[in-house]
Amino acid sequence: MKISSMNYLFKQGMKNIWTNRIMSVASFCVLMVSLLLVGFMMLFIANINQFVGGIENKNEVVIFLEDVSESQIAAMQNTLNDMDNVSSVVFYSKEEALEDMKASMENADDLFGYVEDNPLPDAFRIRIADIEKISGTLMEINKMDGIDSIKSPTDFINILTGLKSFIGIISAVVLAALVVVSLVIISNASRASVDIRKREIAIMKLVGATNTFIKVPFFVEGMFIGILAGITAAAVTALGYSELVKMLSQDMTLWSIMSINGFIPLKSVIWQLSAGYLVVGTVIGALGTVMSTRKYLKV
């Protein structure tokens, strides 16, 4: 194809956007809203995951020790450190424990005067890397010598793991439904915009134009609308998300619990999200319109 022809088809596509401006605006809105719906849903899910993950990271297992020697303590610390599922090990001596206890009971200084021998045990405070595998790790720790008892938030962890898989399933379902609904709406919108021009397409075929020649302007048109929708969706997300985070962190007590862990900052997601919007918008815009022309190209 000659450059002048390509040039003509490109201009034709751009012109069509204006000529069919009502349908163009409709397609643009549908595409943009769909992108935003999916985008914000993904941000919501990511934030929930971050929230749950934040709680997860705060898990702490306390291992109380029998009265063991310092060398034994060092050996135990090494063994714990070597375990796969243990992310951090901190030794918490009985002296520290006593100091902490005194500090937390400021008004009871007199009381501690009576304590001659420190009754508190030495302990390790460890964090678990993968909370779902905690029971195996605890069993392994139990096999070690010199352990008096282990305190772990097992119930809480069970609830949390349950919640996490529940959220995972729900969000996957909602996201899938949203994607399907968006695709249906978008394909209907682009079909409607092509439908209006079926007469035009039929004439073009009758005077001997090839399918490609007819499709290119539609392709250009859909792609351009897709790019615009992607850019707008990115801008709306950038503005809307930071405003939303600001609002939620200020006002609502429920969300302020979440904001302890912090919302996912806009900066860390906006570029990936914008790129996603742009790619998905362009591809769906272009393919949507071109595929809708197929029905009318069989003349």
Partner: protein, 225 residues
């Protein structure tokens, strides 16, 4: 050249649209095809454009054996034919120039050629002053002239006109047929389908009558004037 040999078309609903039709229109001829609506005229045109295929028989148009021509290559055939329709079939979002130029653009013609050829053809049909107008701003006769210009622009071997005067008043109808005659005088084969016997009698020439899917008359009739 158009040639049909023993062509029959039966639609899937059982309608026998054409029955064993044999017909030949030579290069440079002007032929009227007449008949009542439902006689098979539209089917005949659809066959020539390869919009449909016959159940039996052989069709040759401008050297294309339509049996061997794939549907996806139908544009090659259509580029050798100029069409004029009753409803003009102009693209309303394009002005006169772009409507005519579209045919050349779609065959990837050089830009320079398009810029010379299109204004020339438009002036041939007498619409020099309406080049930038849109179809909706033109009268029926003018629209049909644009359609004629579009049919002519690619210098086709054959022009098929399907009821080109159906939407026009008598005087404009005569003008359009005179234009078609003029085009024919330059060597282009013209096949004009119509149900207006008055017009046919007025101009005369080869007349093919179709009734119930069969050719019942094919001969030259004289001028009445």
């Amino acid at each position: 050249m158009v040639e049909l040999r023993n062509v029959s078309v039966t639609y899937s609903n059982g309608v026998d649209a054409l029955h064993d039709v044999t017909l030949k229109i030579n290069d440079g001829e002007f032929a009227f095809v007449v008949g009542k609506s439902g006689a098979g005229k539209s089917t005949l045109i659809k066959l020539l454009l390869k919009e449909i295929s016959p159940n039996s028989g052989k069709i040759t148009v401008n050297g294309f054996d339509l049996e061997k021509l794939k549907k996806s290559k139908a544009h090659k055939l259509r580029r050798t034919i100029g069409f004029v329709f009753q409803d003009f079939k102009l693209i309303n979002t394009m002005n006169v120039y772009d409507n005519v130029a579209f045919v050349l653009r779609s065959i990837d013609a050089p830009l320079k050629y398009i810029r010379n050829r299109v204004p020339y053809v438009i002036s041939l049909v007498g619409l020099k002053d309406r080049v930038r107008s849109y179809p909706t701003e033109l009268s029926g006769g003018e629209q049909q002239r644009v359609a004629l210009a579009r049919a002519l622009v690619n210098d086709p071997q054959l022009i098929i006109a399907d009821e080109p005067t159906g939407n026009l008043d008598p005087n404009t109808s005569i003008e359009i047929i005179e234009l078609l005659k003029a085009i024919n005088n330059c060597g282009t084969t013209v096949m004009m389908v119509t149900h207006e016997h008055e017009l046919v009698r007025r101009f005369g020439g080869r007349t093919i009558n179709i009734e119930n899917g069969r050719i019942t008359f094919d001969d030259y009739i004289g001028y009445t004037e």
